[in-house]
């Protein structure tokens, strides 16, 4: 304020006017995309930029860190460094390890903080500033859905990372968004028969549910399938995401008359709630003449590691597990292990696969145009990625593949060997009609 000491005179007014005029004229330079490319962020140099948007802080930070490792590994393999990983077992042989469409793959990263706002800001930065042609990541369905709709509006492809809610490819699906991970509908379908065999058909379930789209979705799916086989649902209580302390939610379980506790939690939330439930002695209880049991419908090795001893004997479902013995899984575990010294999580796997699938689609389409890539991914059948034969269904951009039902191992042989695969539920058993979950894909947007 006090920096300006000149009195107001004719000259200063003229000068201010000229500057103001120039300032008002500048927007036209930026708004006119007249000379720009046929689609948003068309790579013109020798590089193509991908945006990796993962949680580095918050309840899902562990998953985010593992996702980022997987992305970096995928970029290495695409550029021909390292041992090539899944490129060797992937059924499509288009990618040669020399980049994509002759361009070297580069990437930018961002922190979603497990918050929709921050995730969208970070994705926008990647699109607007760094020129990312594809965004991938997300360890929370709320975030994934928010970023997916942003990418649809902006006109880039979104390859969803770890997101398990039905809504991502159901109610909130988008033409520019694709998901390799499974969803709660599939979890329910795969888990129910195993629960029936182990715990019978006469059970009373109490749900603790993370209060956002994924929790709601999982609660609904599990209820649907367990009630279908005769279980009763005593209560379903919503808990805030990232609550930390779940004791106030666990105490009422004891007096509810329920004999099954279903924890619709993930990440650190699940670690905390499960640990506290075990500390409260729930698993030593007898209710209605049966042993009290806990079920964690969505499992991951990282969570099992966090919860330690407490996961023993607990059932859940997972997208992929490193102990699988097919060629793809072995190749991935090997190259990931060589790079980082420990086996990858399911989050890492899905993110790695998504990156490769995107690159392959771009290579097959011969362009980075989002609409052409979407067309190349739709209805794409592939194998050799660790999940057996897989289909990217065109109607809802959801991958269909086998689902694993796992159980916490009683006698782990190492700190990573915590889950054992109880059953590999075949793809046919978890398939559902595309219109079951509602939603509409809309039209493809390439941002031009």
């Amino acid at each position: 304020m006090s920096l300006i000491r000149k009195p107001l005179n004719r000259r200063s007014i003229l000068r201010a006017g000229a500057l103001g005029g120039a300032a008002l004229a500048t927007p036209t330079i930026f708004t006119s995309r007249a000379w720009s490319a046929g689609y948003l962020n068309e790579p013109t140099g020798a590089e193509v930029v991908l945006g990796f948007n993962v949680p580095q802080t918050g309840a899902y930070a562990d998953e985010g860190a593992d996702e980022l490792r997987a992305y970096q590994l995928a970029v290495k393999h695409l550029n021909g460094e390292g041992d090539g990983g899944l490129l060797n077992t992937f059924s499509s042989k288009e990618l040669q390890g020399n980049g994509v469409n002759g361009k070297k793959v580069a990437f930018v990263t961002g922190d979603t903080q497990t918050k929709s706002d921050a995730a969208r800001a970070s994705a926008k930065r990647m699109i607007e500033k760094d020129g990312a042609i594809m965004i991938t990541g997300g360890s929370s369905s709320g975030v994934a859905i928010a970023v997916q709709s942003l990418c649809q509006e902006a006109g880039v492809i979104f390859m969803a990372g770890l997101t398990h809610s039905n809504d991502t490819t159901g109610k909130d699906k988008r033409k520019n968004g694709f998901r390799h991970f499974f969803n709660t509908e599939m979890s329910g379908a795969a888990l129910a028969p195993v629960l029936k065999n182990n715990y019978g058909t006469d059970r009373k379930a109490y749900h603790l549910t993370a209060d956002y789209t994924w929790g709601w979705s999982q609660e609904e799916s599990i209820k649907k399938y367990t009630e279908g086989m005769g279980w009763e649902t005593t209560a379903a209580v919503r808990t805030p995401l990232g609550a930390g302390d779940f004791s106030q939610y666990i105490t009422p379980v004891l007096n509810s008359g329920a004999d099954v506790l279903v924890l619709n939690h993930y990440g650190k939330d699940m670690v905390n709630s499960l640990t506290q439930a075990v500390q409260f002695g729930l698993r030593d209880k007898q209710v209605n003449g049966k042993d009290f049991v806990i079920v964690v419908p969505l499992y991951s090795r990282l969570m099992a590691q966090g919860a330690g001893e407490n996961v023993k004997g607990i059932f859940g479902s997972t997208n992929w597990h490193w102990s699988l013995q097919d060629e793809g899984s072995k190749a991935f575990v090997k190259s990931f292990g060589q790079e980082y010294g420990f086996p990858p999580s399911q989050a890492a796997h899905t993110c790695y696969v998504q990156t490769l699938l995107y690159a392959d689609a771009a290579q097959r389409a011969g362009t980075f145009d989002p609409c052409a890539i979407a067309a190349a991914l739709e209805g794409f059948e592939f194998d050799g990625m660790g999940n057996g034969p897989t289909l990217y269904r065109a109607e809802d951009h959801q991958c269909f593949k086998d689902v694993l039902v796992v159980k916490g191992k009683e006698n782990p042989s190492s700190q990573f060997d915590l889950l054992e695969v109880v059953e590999i539920t075949p793809r046919s058993q978890v398939e559902y009609p595309a219109d079951l979950l509602g939603g509409e894909l809309g039209a493809c947007n390439n941002g031009a």
Binding site: M1, S2, L3, I4, K6, P7, L8, S12, A16, L19, G20, A22, A23, L24, T26, P27, F30, T31, Q56, T57, V108, T109, G110, D111, K115, S116, D117, R120, A121, S122, K124, R125, E128, K129, G142, I145, A146, S149, L150, Q152, E153, A154, D211, Y212, T213, R238, P240, L241, E440, G442, A443, N445
Partner: protein, 378 residues
């Protein structure tokens, strides 16, 4: 704030400020901030902090719950989109009205106390609003998932559903994303700044300063400070609501985390960092924090390698591992250090730094100005 003000000087100052804001895309390009989303954030949070400063900078009342108004503004804006259509003007108006009413209610209760009690009351109200939005009012706010505009919404004025194309705010054909959104926010920021400038200079502003300086004395002279503080509270609530609406105009999604206490704390940081009680300070503070949040958090090892590649390898390794602590997910750490340095050495915020530098160049002889270091918050 300089005592040598005159209307003419204010207008020149405002003109220069306008030019600076509108040309941000050019002069911020070299430091990597010249892209629309970040510049929108600069403008939006600048406005938020400017409004906060009317309350905190002038009356000294430290509200720890301003994010609640931001959230109310956001939800109102998205609901206006859903019900009326994607034009930003009704959204802005509705958001200002709704947050104003909300601020009136909270202010009426909270302003019965001052000092720390006032801060705690506002914090409590904001936390209540956050929890309401997060879980209880899920039908209205859609909880954690966030409220979005859907194709099936009525949208009275721009026709229902059927039409194709992205669901983004649209001012008579200009899409409110990218540069269009930035210029819209920038113009609103300029209007908001102009109003703030007028308030600072008005008799009303002087009354507010009197509240800060010595409220007892004001009461003894027979003046009731309550109406003044309440008015300041409502005005700053409206600014916050407006900022919330702009967030939704540039990106039609409202999430509850916007109302969390950390968001309220952020605006306090912005104001103090920039200089409470100054006109420009809060805007500087907001820009600085948003710059750190968006640019520093995006640095990864790769970027550090590029920056330090001139160093020999054996030095580069350790330098990168130390620097790595302060970027990426560690950007909070950098911000914390910076905040400490500023509060310790420049209690008046960045603006004190600016005026100190200004004085160096002025070389004014004779009487030195009395020390005008702004009193720290509370």
């Amino acid at each position: 704030m300089s005592t040598r003000t005159s209307p003419a000087r204010d207008y020149i100052f405002f003109a220069i400020f306008s030019v600076a804001v509108l040309t941000m895309p050019i002069w911020l390009e070299p430091i990597g901030a010249g892209y629309p989303d970040l510049l929108q954030k600069f403008a939006i949070f600048g406005l938020f902090a400017t409004g906060f400063n009317i309350l905190f900078g002038l009356t000294g009342y430290l509200s720890f719950g301003h994010a609640a108004f931001l959230g109310v503004g956001s939800y109102t804006a998205v609901w206006t989109f859903k019900l009326l259509g994607m034009n930003p003007i009704p959204a802005v108006i509705m958001a200002i009205i709704a947050s104003g009413i909300f601020a009136l209610a909270i202010g009426y209760v909270s302003l019965r106390r001052s000092g720390i009690y006032f801060s705690i009351l506002t914090l409590a109200f904001a936390q209540m609003s956050y929890n309401l939005a997060y879980s209880v009012l899920t039908p209205i706010t859609n909880g954690e998932t966030g409220l979005r505009v859907l194709r099936s919404d009525p949208r009275l004025f721009d026709g229902n559903g059927g039409q194709e194309g992205p669901l983004i705010a649209n001012l008579f054909g200009v899409e409110m994303t990218g540069w269009g959104g930035f210029y819209f926010c920038a113009i609103i920021l300029l209007i908001g700044f102009f109003i703030a400038q007028r308030i600072f200079r008005s008799p009303f502003g002087i009354m507010l300063r009197a509240v800060k300086t010595n409220q007892n004395r004001m009461t003894y002279t027979g003046l009731n400070p309550r109406p003044y503080t309440l008015a300041a509270f409502v005005i700053s609530g409206m600014y916050a609501g407006l900022a919330g609406a702009l967030m939704c105009i540039t990106d039609p999604l409202a999430g509850a985390e916007r109302m969390q206490w950390t968001a309220s704390g952020e605006v306090v940081l912005m104001t103090i960092l920039g200089g409470a009680g100054t006109l420009l300070g809060p805007i500087f503070g907001a820009a600085l924090i948003k710059y750190f949040e968006n640019i520093f958090s995006a640095f990864n090892e790769q970027t550090l390698h590029e920056i330090f590649s001139f160093l020999p390898d054996f030095i580069e390794g350790p330098v990168i591992s130390v620097a790595g602590l302060f970027v990426g997910e560690g950007w909070h750490l950098t911000l914390g250090v910076l905040f400490m340095l500023i509060v310790i050495f420049l209690p008046g915020g960045l603006m004190e730094g600016v005026s100190r530098i200004g004085k160096l160049f002025k070389r004014s002889s004779g009487k030195s100005e009395p020390n005008r270091a702004t009193a720290p918050a509370e």
